[in-house]
């Protein structure tokens, strides 16, 4: 089974770019998309339309989201005993120090800022693939 990744992102342009970058990185991943915080939590809790959602091995979370903010989603994940062990990486346009520190305080596993240049964006996704999805031990991999 390919790695299950939840991408919480409201910009279709960025969703598409992320997908393209993962494809270019040559990794087979199953990318699930939630377009706002509420949907992200439904997916993670297998609620409503997401009753059959798989448990993600890895979460990519934008901070600026409609309905429910990314920070709130992060806090909910990390307070939830059954969800907190899923590595949750922030991927956002903000590189404000306050956002970085606050995210780590909310127990984000890592903080990445979206680069402006296409090449760099691709490099970021590639390194997520190289590091997180290849080198690092993800919880689910060990269990399976």
């Amino acid at each position: 089974m390919p790695l299950q990744i939840l991408l919480v992102e409201d910009s279709p342009g960025d969703v598409r770019l992320t997908k393209e970058a993962f494809r270019d990185a040559g990794k087979t991943v199953e990318l699930h998309v939630a377009v706002d915080g509420v949907e992200a939590m439904q997916f993670l809790r297998k609620e409503g339309a997401h009753a059959d959602a798989p448990r993600p091995d890895f979460i990519l979370l934008d901070l600026n989201l409609p309905k429910m903010d990314g920070r709130e989603v992060l806090a909910l994940i990390k307070q939830d005993e059954s969800l907190r062990s899923i590595p949750t990486v922030i991927l956002t346009t903000s590189d404000a120090e306050a956002d970085i520190v606050h995210s780590y305080q909310l127990r984000a596993n890592c903080y990445l800022s979206k680069p402006v240049q296409l090449e760099q964006f691709e490099a970021i996704v590639r390194s997520i693939n190289d590091f997180w999805l290849t080198k690092a031990k993800l919880p689910q991999q060990v269990l399976s």
Binding site: S11, G13, T93, V116, Q117, L118, F121
Partner: protein, 640 residues
């Protein structure tokens, strides 16, 4: 002889003797009855006790046994007088003699004699009192007086001690000198000889008050009187009285000071004051003259007007009435400094305080203090200016400055937010035109390829512009505190960031040892990166050579940095222009760039308190010069 008792009345006598003995024993003093031969006929218990003999050891003995001298002699008639006369002269008088105890010790006594006619002739009763305690006290007093005289002579003023009868009992050398008399010419004389009026009267009780009260009223007060010298000339004095208890009753010590000099000075002062008042009134500010006790001694019409008081309402009042805080305190010495020093620290300084008007309203003032020597000690003249208007002008200015700063900040915030938010949609445009170019170039027609390339180029340029704008606005909004950092490290970092360009161009970058400077590290890196990057970029052909150096500028503790290149150079007419926003000297096709890089450099250097300039000739390379504050004198130096 009226006290003669008849022999025939012997029984009566025995009765008398019994009664007399009773009286004798009841007396508080030692009593000894002596006959004309000087033999002791009778004595009481106190006498036994005082002299240390038993009664029978003394009875019939010569009185000289216990009072060796001065008593027996008095009982004996001499050639000039009868025994009765001799005794008469002594009766009732307290005579001080020396007595002798059985153990041989002596002690002072006072005896009082009284005659007693008896069948055996005249007897003498002596009441004997041990006065050793009193003698000791008297001796003590004499010593005290000796010491007091020492004080008297040491006093700087003329001192005269007068008794209640107005007689001079003591005086010092200064008094002799001041009045022109020798001591013995004054001792025992009436004090009115030297102070005709006003002193003696003060010593005397009148119908309304006792002597003590009369004196009490005057003690310690400085009284100005007129004194008279031996030569008849008069001079003004000030006397200070103090009481002195003595065995002779209350004495009065008068300290007498010749105040003729001061009087003259006072007169001079009043003349001066007249003149000074003229100046005071002419002054444009409110003027208040205050003495060292903080009392207002003079003020001008402007002061009346400014504080809303009449002159006489303020004269003699504490200055705190009109300036509650900060002025009076400045006149007073404390443990650390004298009056003069306290004042000296404040003289001439413009001090901002609050004034208070008679109606209780406060207003801001500025005072300038200046000292004024006078007969009464140092006075302080305060020029008081109402600065209500000035303060409101200052407030206005401060408000304007705040507004300006705020609008500046808002502008920077705006630039930051705008460029930040602009980036999002632009990122989409740029990313997807790039994807389009990557995947479809050559697969559509030539027009499509050209259109896509313009779109990609435009989007990329706009991205760079926005990033530069962002960087420019960050110099102000995101700047860190300046700390001492090794500038060599910042250059290292900049060169590392430029490593791609350096490799591509084959540039040779050299540098001298670089100093520690006060800087925001990120901005210093950016500064080096922009300048060295420019030096590499603006080249025609050949290998770019860049040299970075720093030279100490001794007088203002700065380092002057130079970034020298062998590039295309700049025409002097463009020196100023190149540091402006979006100012470019070349067509985009020649050299890429947004024209913000040097504007950022200028903003960074200026934020660090320095200036940047360029020297160049076309074709001969350029040297950019900027200065930074030295970091070596800073405590928080972080050198390697």
């Amino acid at each position: 002889m009226k006290n003669v008792i008849e022999r025939s009345d012997a029984k009566n006598l025995a009765q008398m003797e019994g009664k007399y003995r009773g009286l004798l024993e009841a007396a508080p003093d030692a009593m000894v009855v002596v006959n004309q031969r000087g033999e002791i006929d009778l004595l009481n218990v106190q006498a036994e006790k005082q002299f240390g003999y038993r009664r029978d050891e003394l009875l019939g003995q010569k009185v000289t046994t216990i009072i060796p001298r001065g008593f027996a002699e008095r009982l004996v008639a001499d050639d000039l007088r009868s025994a009765a006369d001799a005794l008469d002269q002594q009766i009732g008088t307290g005579i001080e003699l020396v007595a002798l105890r059985k153990d041989g010790t002596e002690f002072p006594i006072e005896i009082m004699l009284s005659p007693l006619d008896s069948a055996e002739g005249m007897l003498v009763t002596a009441a004997i009192r041990d006065i050793s305690v009193r003698k000791a006290a008297e001796q003590h007093l004499a010593q005290m007086e000796g010491r007091y005289r020492g004080l008297l002579e040491a006093a700087p003023d003329a001192m005269v001690v007068v008794n209640q009868s107005g007689e001079i009992v003591l005086l010092n050398a200064q008094a002799e000198k001041q009045f022109g008399y020798r001591r013995d010419e004054l001792l025992g004389q009436k004090v009115t000889n030297i102070i005709p009026i006003g002193f003696a009267e003060r010593l005397i009780a009148d119908d309304l008050r006792s002597a003590a009260d009369a004196l009490g009223q005057q003690i310690g007060t400085g009284i100005e009187l007129v004194a008279l010298r031996k030569d008849g000339s008069e001079f003004p004095i000030e006397i200070m009285l103090s009481p002195l208890d003595s065995t002779e009753g209350i004495l009065v010590t008068a300290a007498i000071r010749d105040i003729s000099v001061r009087r003259a000075a006072d007169e001079h002062l009043s003349q001066m004051e007249g003149r000074y008042r003229g100046l005071l009134e002419a002054a444009p500010d409110a003027m208040v003259v205050v003495n060292q006790s903080g009392e207002i001694v003079l003020l001008n019409a402007q002061a009346e007007k400014q504080f809303g008081y009449h002159r006489d309402e303020l004269l003699g009042q504490q200055v705190t009435t009109v300036i509650p805080e900060g002025f009076a305190e400045r006149l007073i010495a404390d443990d650390l400094r004298s009056d003069e020093d306290a004042l000296a620290q404040q003289i001439g300084t413009g001090i901002e305080l609050d004034g208070v008007r008679k109606d209780g309203s406060f207003f801001p003032i500025e005072i300038m203090l200046s000292p004024l020597e006078s007969a009464e000690g140092m006075l302080v003249t305060a020029a008081i200016r109402d600065i209500t208007a000035r303060n409101s002008a200052e407030e206005h200015l401060v408000r304007k400055m705040d507004e300006l700063n705020r609008s500046n900040e808002e502008l920077e915030q705006f630039a930051y937010i705008a460029s930040h938010d602009l980036q999002e949609p632009l990122r989409m445009v740029a990313s997807y035109t790039q994807l389009l170019a990557r995947r479809y170039t050559g697969r559509l027609d030539a027009d499509a390829d050209e259109f896509i390339s313009f779109a990609v180029d435009g989007a990329a340029r706009m991205q760079r512009l926005i990033q530069d704008l962002l960087a420019f606005s960050r110099v102000g909004t995101k700047g860190k505190d300046l700390v001492a950092i090794p500038s060599g490290d910042a250059l290292d970092r900049a060169l590392k960031n430029l490593s791609g360009a350096i490799e591509d161009s084959g540039a040779i970058v050299t540098f001298d040892p670089l100093p520690s400077v006060l800087a925001d590290e990120m901005q210093l890196i950016q500064l080096f990166q922009n300048l060295v990057g420019n030096a590499i970029k603006y080249q025609n052909a050949g290998i770019p050579k860049v040299h970075v150096s720093a030279e100490r500028c001794a007088e203002d503790d700065k380092w002057v940095f130079k970034v020298r290149d062998n590039g295309i150079g700049i025409d002097p007419q463009y020196y100023d222009r190149i540091f402006g926003m979006f100012k470019r000297l070349h067509k985009r096709e020649e050299f890429a760039g947004t024209g913000i890089g040097l504007a950022i450099c200028k903003k960074i250097v200026e934020r660090h308190g320095g200036a940047i300039s360029v020297e160049s000739q076309p074709g001969e390379g350029s040297t950019f010069t900027f200065d930074l504050i030295s970091g070596t004198n800073q405590v928080n130096e972080t050198g390697e």
